[in-house]
Symmetry: C2
Subunit: 266 residues, 2 copies
Amino acid sequence: MGKSMGTVDKAFHLLSCFTVTEPEWGLSDLARRAGQDKATALRLLNSLMAGGFVEQDPDARTFRIGTAVLKLARVREASFPFLSLAKPPSERLSASIGETIHVCLPEADALATVHIVEPQRATRVYVDPSQPLPYHATASGLAFLAFASAEFVDHALSSTDFRAHTEHTITSREVLIDALAKIRGGAYAVSSSSFELETIGIASPIFDASGHAMGTVAAACLASRITPELETRIASAVTGTAIEITRALGAEPPARFIQSHRELGA
Amino acid sequence: MGKSMGTVDKAFHLLSCFTVTEPEWGLSDLARRAGQDKATALRLLNSLMAGGFVEQDPDARTFRIGTAVLKLARVREASFPFLSLAKPPSERLSASIGETIHVCLPEADALATVHIVEPQRATRVYVDPSQPLPYHATASGLAFLAFASAEFVDHALSSTDFRAHTEHTITSREVLIDALAKIRGGAYAVSSSSFELETIGIASPIFDASGHAMGTVAAACLASRITPELETRIASAVTGTAIEITRALGAEPPARFIQSHRELGA
DNA sequence: TTGATCGGTTCATTATTGTAACCAGTGGTT
DNA sequence: AACCACTGGTTACAATAATGAACCGATCAA
């Protein structure tokens, strides 16, 4: 990590090493991965264990995320319930534009879909709730990265594989960074058949109180239906819903974001 | 806090101040509550905010739990899914003894019911999933405290109100501490109409990898049905299920606990 | 005006931390 | 057996980062 960081930050850096794909670490492995000394890592882990944020397997001596996070997550959900706040606006959005809406939260190297609303309509896109959405290949991923913290983007970019899910997928870091800059100038991301053929995603970030993306709301549309005018109409509705959810969470989107949303409606 | 603690521990102490009943704190209030200097608390909060563990309301300048805990909780649930691991044993338990089973996790000053299984039986106890179970008045609460960490017990005892929910509720700290010691000598707690009249709770702790209680599993029985022999049979089944869930979570109950369970079966 | 809050900053003092070397144990090779 | 390359964990001391009383500017009440 080069620069000096506070010890608390280091502890969180350790925590961030535990992911869905690598939930358990031995001491040496973890210290190497986090770029920390074994002694340092162990001291931090002992504090984390005392707080219940990590546990140690009694036999294998491996470390894993502890139960304290469950408690805190319940406190957070009890006071600022993300899902129950995000659902009503998503349903209104789906009813208003007649397309499938999905809400996502970030995992280590992909987005996880946590809510889906399907419209009352014969033809509609099916979103698989169990499939992780890669950052480089989906509208949600692009919208999230465009408004995520610089550190998060660095980490996501360095751990993404740029796999081509279709012939339209962005497969190079440079192209992706350009795309993110463009998205940042507006308020939403579009992906035309870059993940599934015949589908167009239109996504916008939900912000936390620090002004960074903490999730996304997106419409998954049949490509055959989309015209430039319709895209703008949907984008306006999606960004409006993103603003609505962000405010319901007690946060406020950046002023530039609001401005871009207004220009869509005009 | 008197003695010196590591800075990471202080950061977690701050986090633990955020509860369901008090989810938002101003800087000065929080520093006072945590027994820390304002400057210290602010620096810790800044680190916590950088990690996403707390957020600050842009207007009110109050702090609250951030979204990072949701991410970690999802990692934990993806690798060691508590509910999906606890459900099957609970269902078997309910079927085997024919009583309502409920599984609880700790909140700040009460237990939260996170799963309920009702038996196929005309007469059974109804457990309200939204009602917090006070530590001093329920079998689950007693079982949890008896096997919780000393710090947790201290905190819980100092913040409990010892309210008498019925005429059988334990209402003094001394009696409670005695009861906990007795429970610790065995493997389960019984509460006879100490929370709801006509119901008897029989509860046992689920352990985390550090050997402390991280949750409970309990049977809520109609008092009129219970005999000493039946109580022992149910207690044996409940403690067995607690051991089963603990092991499914990748942890191991203390040897004394296992021994006490065996003696029940004999 | 005074005084008592609040959120946030400063800086000399002090305690924690990083570093590297060292244990003791384990499993595989020769 | 002897050796090697690991592992998890510990220790000493120099280097560094945390600490907290005092301080600032705002705000609010009397």
